[in-house]
Amino acid sequence: MSTDATHSDEAHSTTGQYVRIAIILTILTILEVATYYVDIPYALLIPLLLVLAGMKFALVVAYYMHLRYDSKLFSGFFFFGFTIEILLLIALMVLFGIRSG
């Protein structure tokens, strides 16, 4: 019985954590959408938006997809693909940027 109890405690704490993260994600989303209504200089806006999106991305990947607690192998697969793609994205944007002028 005692093991059952700790089990359900753990379960409650994970549920609590999931909900807390959902709240943070909601707040981040509200901040993102707020930028649409507030006047922010363009040079500041883009880094701000990227950081906010990056935080949401990281939270979902780390907690909802459990990468924080799971095997490094899984992170390896995911971030290998992700990194290659980010590098390609930057390279292609630069190359097309040069091209159009």
């Binding site: 059952d4 089990h7 359900s8 379960a11 994970t14 549920t15 999931y18 909900v19 993260i21 959902a22 994600l25 909601t26 989303t29 993102e32 959408v33 930028t35 649409y36 363009y42 806006l45 883009i46 938006l49 990227l50 906010l52 999106a53 949401k56 991305f57 979902v60 990947v61 907690y63 909802y64 997809m65 095997s71 192998l73 899984f74 697969f77 995911f78 290998f80 693909g81 992700f82 290659i84 793609e85 980010i86 390609l88 994205l89 292609l92 944007m93 097309f96 159009s100």
Partner: protein
């Protein structure tokens, strides 16, 4: 495309070299590959940004408030998804206690259903958005923006649709006692991936001003 098929392939009982489940590694490797797929679509959108020669242009047509709501819906579906998994995991953990097991399973099924409902809701928003765009004169072939926008968000929507189908299948199968927590976890990984792709699309396509 064969995700669902893969989901029932490997015998779990056999020990593996890494102690990790075959199907879970497969899912992560597949998601790594999907990063490049969506990345290429997003890259194309970005390099073609502002290159349309005729309107309607994105700034005239993108509906940020509406998409904010649909973004929120998809984000909440991710919460429902983790709660569904927690339910199935606890049900499996409570193998001795039939009553609690049923209770947890019930919760798991409820959240699974909620995930599918929210996912369908997102698709509804997307369908509405697409129809509105067409009414405003933006079709798939109208200009470069229409082409890149519809293909990118269309492929994302297709992924959501596949996910909904997957979740509903899991829900139905769970009544036949055929769903293990791992099955839900794999569906969940796919689902969250689709969600994070949308997080990126929302920022890069909708929020950064054109």
């Amino acid at each position: 495309m064969s995700d669902a098929a893969i989901a029932h392939e490997a015998p779990e009982e056999h020990p593996t070299s890494t102690g990790l489940n075959h199907r879970k590694i497969l899912m992560w490797a597949f998601l790594g590959s999907e990063c490049i797929f969506f990345g290429s679509l997003i890259t194309t959108y970005l390099v073609y940004r502002g290159k349309s020669v005729v309107g309607p242009y994105p700034s005239e047509i993108l509906n940020i408030p509406l998409t904010s709501v649909s973004t929120f819906v998809l984000l909440m579906s991710s919460l429902a998804m983790v709660l569904a998994l927690a339910g199935f995991e606890r049900a499996a953990g409570a193998a001795g206690d039939v009553e609690r097991q049923q209770q947890e399973l019930k919760k798991g099924r409820f959240w699974l259903l909620m995930t599918a409902v929210l996912g369908t809701g997102f698709l509804g928003f997307q369908a509405y958005e697409f129809i509105e765009f067409v009414h405003h004169g933006l079709g798939l072939t109208t200009n470069l923006f229409g082409t890149t926008f519809f293909v990118l968000t269309g492929f994302h929507g297709t992924h959501v649709g596949v996910g909904v189908l997957w979740l509903v299948s899991l829900l139905v199968l769970s009544y036949f006692g055929k769903v293990k927590p791992l099955d839900v976890e794999l569906g969940g990984l796919y689902w969250h991936f689709v969600d994070i792709v949308w997080i990126i699309i929302f920022t890069l396509i909708y929020l950064i001003p054109h």
